[in-house]
Symmetry: C2
Subunit: 111 residues, 2 copies
Amino acid sequence: MNDALEALGALAQETRLTVFRLLVRAGPDGLAAGDVAARLGVPPATLSFHLKELEHAGLLRARRDGRRIFYATDYQGMQSLLAFLTEECCQDHPEICAPAASCEPGITTTS
Amino acid sequence: MNDALEALGALAQETRLTVFRLLVRAGPDGLAAGDVAARLGVPPATLSFHLKELEHAGLLRARRDGRRIFYATDYQGMQSLLAFLTEECCQDHPEICAPAASCEPGITTTS
DNA sequence: CGTTTATTTCCATAATTATAAAAATATGAA
DNA sequence: TTCATATTTTTATAATTATGGAAATAAACG
């Protein structure tokens, strides 16, 4: 519960949600903090604050490479949150929450 | 994006997350505001504030029955949020986010 | 009408969270 | 060591959000 609250709180902020989605798209290698700051036009100090928030919430992982620090999605943390939000729903009404949470082709227009 | 931010913000609060999960478990008929207040031991004024917050975020629906007002999960709103959180993930790495978000038996110990 | 019950709005206060400038830290290179 | 780059911590201020008492609204019933 507390983990979910932290994760939801971390995502419930425009800059952080944008950062998170950017890093989800960037894939497992992530992006350097400076790159993220530049892309989003957020001051370094502000971005650092938000990155820490996401990291502390278990949604991002940091890894140093030389003098840069790369942030990448913590897919396991992301999974935990999604599972928490869906588990109670499924127990009684599988048909209600299944479509939204599933990863089938056709949800995103890829095919 | 704005819808997702509102929904995440609504869920990122202990009382509201508890209320939401209670109502998810309660099913489509939901519960009267007073019942929720009594079960959680939250003052009516405080609960009303939180119920409104969840309703505005598109996560709950209100319906009057006599002098009581029943609040129930808005499964469509819930679905939208889950879809938003998972769609970008799936595009490149289906194997990464699929398991957490799916609704297979075995995630909740029901069988 | 007045009364009871259910819920909401109003309001002031308290608590939390965001922002970004400035100083500090860490790394790599000369 | 000194310099330049990358990021973080500190700090103060600003903005947002939570809380719950009291008054207001809404509905059912006599």
